[in-house]
């Protein structure tokens, strides 16, 4: 069994133009751990996920996945920029589900799922189709394999997006506000699917969400994030029920009043 941390952020700094998004961030996530990140909009929560997915590059600091640096390798004892091949290998360990689904509209549902396994992993088409069909069955959309994304509802699109990310069998899954664009009822169904999924796998999972009930159900640990810093870090009970910081209390009060 792997005793290394699944994910480590070491002194990560990230800013866009003049705006500092992440400031000296340190974070460790254990293998199989489910971490929920909460916090106000624009606090840098999504940036953490985007950095892990290598959609963004940190300005400084190290991101390690299973003990290995994503952006650097050592050559002759020196720390040098990693090759594109290395970065792709690291990226392959991570999968991501987006707020706006981002399905490929020109591909049918099944192709949305099979395209990456075939092109990226070199999986034989028949095997990729079998796996995609299984996944569609798991997310309750076995009958939609031949549909176009435009023919699906928002909730169905998100289920396909989850199946698509799972098809590459990542070790780490990132969920970026996956129900923010959905009706509350539909959102509940998608979250239930993710809860079931989380029970069935040993994947490390990171969530950015505003759904506090879901956070409580799925999280081993909750992080409260504000202005690029982790303000509070603990079990769901500690952070959601007994927050230590005034800023956390204020945020949770607002959220619970709204819902």
């Amino acid at each position: 069994m792997n005793h290394k941390a699944s994910i480590e952020f070491v002194n990560i700094h990230k800013s866009y133009q003049r705006t500092v998004v992440l400031e000296n961030l340190n974070l460790t996530v254990a293998p199989g751990e489910h971490v929920v990140i909460i916090g106000p909009s624009g606090s840098g929560k999504s940036t953490i996920l985007r950095l892990l997915m290598t959609l963004e590059k940190p300005d400084s600091g190290e991101i390690l996945i299973e003990g290995e640096s994503v952006w650097h390798t050592t050559r002759d004892g020196r720390n040098v920029d990693a090759s594109p091949a290395h970065i792709r290998r690291m990226r392959g360990k991570v999968g991501m589900v987006f707020q706006h689904f981002n399905l490929f509209p020109h591909l049918r549902v099944l192709q949305n799922i099979t395209e990456a396994p075939i092109r990226v992993m070199g999986m034989p088409r028949s095997q990729a189709v079998r796996r995609a069909t299984d996944l569609l069955d798991r997310v309750g959309l076995a009958d939609k394999a031949e549909a176009w994304p435009a023919e699906l509802s928002g909730g169905q699109k998100q289920r396909v997006a989850i199946a698509r990310a799972l098809a590459l069998q990542p070790r780490i899954m990132l969920f970026d506000e996956i129900t923010s664009a959905l009706d509350p009822e539909i959102a509940g169904q998608v979250l239930q699917l993710v809860l079931d999924l989380a029970k069935q796998t040993e994947m490390t999972m990171l969530f950015v969400t505003h759904q506090m009930r879901f956070a409580r159900q799925i999280a081993d640990r909750v992080l409260f994030f504000d202005r690029g810093r982790i303000i509070e870090n603990g079990t769901p009970e500690q952070v959601l029920d007994h927050p230590q910081q005034p800023r956390t209390r204020e945020f949770l009060n607002n959220v619970f009043q709204a819902s």
């Binding site: 490929f104 509209p105 990226v120 990310a165």
Partner: protein, 218 residues
């Protein structure tokens, strides 16, 4: 001056010969414009500012100088520095390069309409940049720009008479030769005009058909 049908029939084969050259120049020129334009558009997407501005400079230069001067320059000036290219090949190449600056803009508009999330999702699924471009982005970017590309094709077709100025024996050149020999310009020039009209209309119809075909698939 009266229209003379027997004269018109008599010169038709010569003009149709010219038409073959015209269509050949259009198709080959457009192929070049489509490939090269995509290349420019691809370069404009790269994050490197140096590449961006040099590409911008090249396409701006091409668009802001007259096609006729580009043709003259390549046909009459290049031989002076030892580069001699046959007239038709010069014509096709110059047309293609000239129009590539316009097709590049059309591609760019199409590419910019693809939401950022499509690039993100493709990257998250670990597609290479090339796979992302060819399998995810382009197939979405192309269908909406088919009409604009079609307009470029027709515009280029109507620019081919300029090739007569560098001795390419296309339709207009043949018509003028006939006119100079027989002192009858009415029939040859009318016929050339009508042939241009017919082919342009057919091309428009084909583009419309193609677009409907692509859109129905969704």
């Amino acid at each position: 001056m009266m229209w003379n049908w027997s004269f018109a029939w008599h010169i038709l084969p010569t003009i149709l010969h010219g038409m073959v050259i015209t269509i050949e120049a259009t198709i080959l020129g457009m192929l070049l414009a489509l490939v090269l334009g995509l290349f420019w558009a691809g370069l404009l997407l790269l994050p490197n500012r140096w590449i961006f501005w040099s590409t911008r400079g090249i396409t701006e230069f091409i668009r802001d100088t007259p096609l006729l001067i580009q043709l003259f320059f390549c046909y009459y000036v290049l031989p002076e520095i030892g580069i001699t290219i046959p007239a038709l090949l010069t014509g096709i190449t110059v047309l293609g390069i000239n129009y590539s600056a316009y097709t590049a803009e059309v591609y760019r508009a199409g590419l910019q309409n693809i939401p950022r999330g499509q690039w993100d999702a493709a990257k998250a699924l670990n597609f290479t940049t090339w796979q992302t471009f060819t399998r995810i982005i382009l197939p979405q970017a192309i269908p909406p720009i088919v009409p604009a590309m079609g307009n470029n094709l027709i515009a280029m077709f109507k620019d081919t008479p300029l090739l007569s100025t560098i001795t390419v024996m296309e339709m207009l050149d043949r018509a003028m030769i006939i006119g100079d020999k027989t002192f009858r310009y009415l029939e040859p020039l009318t016929m050339v005009g009508i042939l241009f009209l017919i082919i342009s209309l057919m091309a428009s119809a084909l583009i419309g058909f193609t677009q409907r075909k692509i859109l129905v698939r969704r």
